[in-house]
């Protein structure tokens, strides 16, 4: 594994891009050495086309393997157990058409092709059955009755956007009062759709609805409700989702290499496909079988699973999970365990073989031993304490920069500093997020690709830059001059380059 002589074509030029300012993939600060860690964030179109059919026979048909006793509890419940909704749903009137219901920024409705309600973000979906009926009629009109056949995409009214996604046999609708673009909102709906797939597999859903058009899918989804709610909340506060990138825990290169070696050594088990170490909701290390890779969306789903389920923390868990982009029609199995008492460091091993629990349990023990022996766990804990895993914008040493987002394209990894003044409150952070979304959509939505955007507003100046190798979004003080902004950007890129070994995963071994 030789290191590339990394050359960042822009870090040396002053005053911005004198020459061809495109930074090629693989040459940006933080680029990976060999192969990609995570599959290229696919362009929007590729993700929204229908999922690929199963490729290998032996991985297929795991649908029936999920033991039915997991389901009997749900089948007893007619609908959603109210306790799951209590924490997520704010107080408002029972009448779902009340003013407070309307004021919510983002509503999500899921129903079957037959119009049967499955999920609503706020309120009780049975009460909203009539509304869902209307949505279903609208979607079905265009796809089944219009001449020529068409697809309903979205509707706009003032500041509201209503985005429709039909994925046979489900219909997902998002009613949003944010500034996100239609593409960004459709992406969020795709995330919700993939979340459902990851619980049930695409094949199973299709089969059920083929046999019973009127099936009430809620009977199989009671746990997933909480995960969907979590996912939606996360999309409102975290830029990872619309950027299609994963956050990675900053760690010294030596520690990370040790972890990589330890994990790789004990992951060379037949049928083990991925071995992932996560700490504080960020990726630490990721070992994969050659020729296979996880998509950032799947990593987000895994993170969501960990966040949403308290029960996983108590002991080693063996759970089926469907990875929608890896294999949408079948389950893979995940061995999940926490390596420390505070339950912040999680080791996941994913395999296609349902009988591998004990083998993986053993691997886990060996890995945990080795990591403890070399002090890696302590290092991770230490790095997480007291601002070390999260650096501040002021650490970078450029006073004009208040905050930034940097995404490497070759690895789909994201790094950003902690929020500081003037973004200390949640509302300010959310406002900044919607501004980043605006820059992102302007850079990606036009028929004419935009490479650089500089916007001066009332409270900040924003810079967005897209090259083949990275995407960079910076929030400056509004009084920054253009010259200072360009210099600051160059300085920041140099700083990221200097810190790249610590901020990103440079090496991802294959087994």
């Amino acid at each position: 594994m030789s290191r590339n002589s990394s050359r960042c074509s822009n870090s040396s030029s002053s005053g911005g891009d004198k020459n061809d300012d495109d930074v090629l993939e693989g040459e940006e600060p933080g680029a990976v050495y060999d192969g990609s860690i995570v599959v290229q964030s696919k362009p929007f179109n590729a993700i929204t086309t229908f999922l690929q059919p199963p490729t290998e026979g032996d991985k297929a048909d795991s649908g029936s393997v999920v033991s039915d006793d997991v389901l009997t509890d749900d089948e007893k419940n007619g609908g959603v157990s109210p306790e799951l909704m209590v924490n997520e749903v704010p107080e408002f009137d029972d009448d779902w058409r009340s003013a407070s219901w309307k004021k919510q920024k983002k509503h999500v409705f899921i129903m079957s092709y037959a119009g049967k309600p499955i999920y609503t973000r706020y309120g009780d979906e049975d009460q909203q059955a009539a509304l869902m009926g209307v949505l279903q009629t609208l979607v079905m009109y265009f796809s089944h009755m219009a001449e020529p056949r068409d697809t309903l995409l979205c509707s706009c009214a003032g500041g509201h956007k209503f985005v429709f996604l039909g994925r046979d046999p489900l219909i997902l609708v998002l009613a949003s009062h944010t500034d996100a673009s239609q593409n960004q909102l459709t992406m969020e709906l795709m995330y919700v759709y993939y979340q459902i797939i990851s619980t049930l597999t695409a094949k199973r859903i299709r089969n059920i609805f083929e046999k019973h058009k009127n099936y009430d899918l809620r009977r199989m989804l009671s746990g997933a409700e909480r995960q969907i709610n979590n996912l939606l909340d996360a999309t409102e506060h975290d830029p990872c989702f619309f950027l299609g990138a994963v956050r990675c825990l900053p760690l010294e290169l030596s520690v990370r290499d040790t972890i990589a070696q330890a994990m790789a050594q004990f992951s060379k088990v037949k049928d083990l496909v991925f071995s992932i170490l996560i700490a504080h909701n960020q990726l630490v290390m990721y070992i994969r079988l050659k020729n296979y890779a996880l998509h950032p969306i799947e990593i987000h789903l895994i993170l969501n699973l960990l966040v949403a389920s308290e029960s996983l923390k108590t002991s080693e868990t063996w759970t089926p999970i469907c990875l929608p982009l890896f294999e949408p029609n079948g389950f893979v199995y995940a061995h999940i365990s926490y390596l420390d008492e505070t339950c912040n460091i999680c080791l996941l091993m994913i395999t296609v073989n349902e009988n591998l629990f004990h083998t993986l349990s053993n691997c886990r023990r060996l890995i945990a031993e080795k990591l403890t022996h070399f002090g890696c766990l302590k290092a991770i804990q230490g790095s997480a304490k007291e601002n070390k895993s999260q650096y501040k914008a002021s650490d970078v040493g450029i006073p004009e920069i208040h905050h930034f987002l940097y995404k490497t394209k070759s690895a789909s990894l994201l790094t950003s500093p902690m929020y500081e003044a003037p973004y200390s409150s949640q509302s300010e952070q959310d406002r900044l997020l919607s501004l980043y979304q605006y820059v992102h959509q302007r850079l990606h939505n036009s028929r004419l690709p935009v490479r650089l955007l500089f916007h001066v507003g009332k409270s900040e100046a924003l810079l967005g830059r897209v090259t083949s190798g990275f995407e960079l979004y910076i929030a400056f003080t509004p009084f920054v001059s253009k010259g200072a902004a360009v210099n600051a950007m160059d300085k920041l890129l140099r700083w990221i380059k200097k810190e790249e070994d610590r901020l990103f995963i440079r090496n991802s071994p294959t087994i």
């Binding site: 309903l152 509707s155 009214a157 004419l448």
Partner: protein, 458 residues
């Protein structure tokens, strides 16, 4: 093998749901539908669909529904008057490729921008209202059948003239090009107008244009914009065509001048023919719309519009008097202005500088990239769409009072949009290997020479 399809008009209709609330009465909701050949059933379904969407969006917001996007179409809604909806459905431009026997159609949704085409919808309604008054007033004064007739009469003719692939940011602005005069000419014009309005008390308002630029207007801003659009988009192009085919100028009995009526008696010797005179409805600033006769008189490059009280009977005598008074004076003013503008013209540096300017306070607009034949060749419609997007961002998404957005595209075109104190300017610079600082300097230089009396924030 690729086949390109431009944006097309699929249908255009106007309906009011209150006219057919019961089942079986749905056809009564339809006030106008284009194309006429579509079966009634389909029309009813379309309207039902629109109603469903409008009701659905109303569940969440009081803001009326604006658009419906599907893969292949774009439907735009405009509630012209309470409960009266105008809806236009466009076919999304597409590129068809035949690869290995399989047809692949790529629909380019980004090529249709909602706010641009809604501006078209609004414009068509404004124009209808100029000539026919509001829907509601026709209903109260006459009945539903006459409303339907009027709609049919106007829209059937107007819709075929729409050039949908030439719509851009200027349609959104819907502004007016002004021609500022020097002090003397302006005062002369002012005196002339005052005199005229004293002599002819029936004249309520007057408007003077020179060469498609507005020189003087006595109308309210809203009416002015609509009338200006009508004159520059419909009437004047029609006149210039006529000019090439008709007889030479008519000279009046007393001395010769170059004036004649465009909307009015074509031949002042012939008493019988009053010519085409339109009735227009002006919104003004009152609740009720005011009806006037629109008489248009032309002398050399100057065009004068006289809005005469609508309750009068027009007689030939009046026109003769107008011709006698207005003709010589207008011709003199026109030739003065001609001299003025020819003196100002040799500033060819303007050519290099590509920009679009708009002032929200007086709706003044200026552009150096639009010519009478369309866009200057160096500016692509993609760039214009980006300008429209930036305009939208500055006004709605980022909601800045004053701000600036600079964008660089992948083919080295820089677009700088500045918004300051109700004025907006969008400058296009094409320069390879430039960076942000250089472009900023260039823009500052241009603004100081061409917009030196306007303060734009840095």
């Amino acid at each position: 093998m690729t086949a390109k399809k431009e944006v097309s008009l699929i249908n255009f209709f106007i309906f009011n749901a209150k006219f057919g609330p019961k089942e079986g009465d749905e056809h009564k909701k339809i006030l106008f539908y284009f194309p006429h050949s579509v079966p009634l059933d389909t029309k009813i379904k379309q309207i039902g669909l629109c109603e469903a969407i409008i009701t659905f969006t109303a569940t969440f917001t009081d803001h009326p529904c604006e658009s419906l996007h599907t893969h292949k179409t774009r439907q735009l809604f405009f509630q012209a008057e309470p409960d009266f909806w105008t809806v236009m459905t466009l076919g999304v431009p597409s590129i068809e490729k035949i690869v290995e026997g399989q047809t692949h159609t790529d629909y380019r949704e980004e090529d249709i921008q909602d706010h641009v085409y809604r501006a078209v919808l609004q414009q068509t309604y404004n124009l209808y209202r100029l000539f026919n008054g509001t829907f509601q007033s026709t209903l109260t004064k006459c009945d539903i059948e006459s409303l339907k007739q009027r709609l049919d009469h106007f829209f059937s003719k107007y819709l075929v003239t729409l050039r949908l692939n030439q719509v851009d940011i200027m349609t959104v602005f819907n502004g007016v090009q002004f021609l500022p005069l020097d002090k003397i000419s302006y005062l002369r014009l002012q005196c002339f107008i005052n005199q005229m309005e004293m002599i002819f008390p029936q004249i309520r308002y007057s408007v003077v244009l020179y060469n498609n630029h507005l020189v003087w207007s006595g109308l309210e801003q809203e009416d002015m914009r609509v009338l200006y659009y009508y004159l520059t988009a419909s009437l004047l192009p029609a006149i210039t065509e006529q000019d090439f085919s008709t007889a030479p100028l008519v000279t009046s009995a007393e001395g010769s001048h170059f004036g004649r009526f465009v909307l009015g008696p074509p031949d002042l010797q012939n008493e019988k023919n009053l010519g085409r005179i339109s009735r227009v409805h002006l919104a003004g600033c009152e609740q009720e719309m005011e009806e006037c006769f629109l008489v248009v008189y032309r002398a050399l490059g100057a065009l004068m519009c006289l809005l005469i009280q609508g309750d009068q009977q027009l007689d030939f005598d009046l026109f003769q008097k107008i011709d006698k008074f207005v003709g010589p004076q207008l011709s003199a003013i026109a030739s003065d202005i001609a001299e003025l503008t020819s003196r100002k013209n040799p500033s060819s540096t303007e050519m290099q500088f590509k920009y679009v300017y708009f002032n929200r306070m007086n709706f003044a607009q200026k552009t150096s990239i639009h010519t009478s034949n369309g866009l200057t060749p160096s500016v692509s419609s993609d760039v214009l769409r980006l300008i429209a997007d930036i305009h939208n961002d500055l006004n709605t998404v980022t909601q800045v009072e004053d701000g600036e957005t600079i964008v660089k595209t992948s083919n080295d075109s820089w677009i700088v949009g500045k918004k300051s104190d109700q004025r907006e300017v969008y400058i296009i610079i094409h320069q390879k290997n430039a960076n942000l600082i250089e472009i900023n300097e260039e823009v500052k230089r241009l603004c100081s020479t061409h917009f030196n009396n306007i303060f734009f924030l840095d």
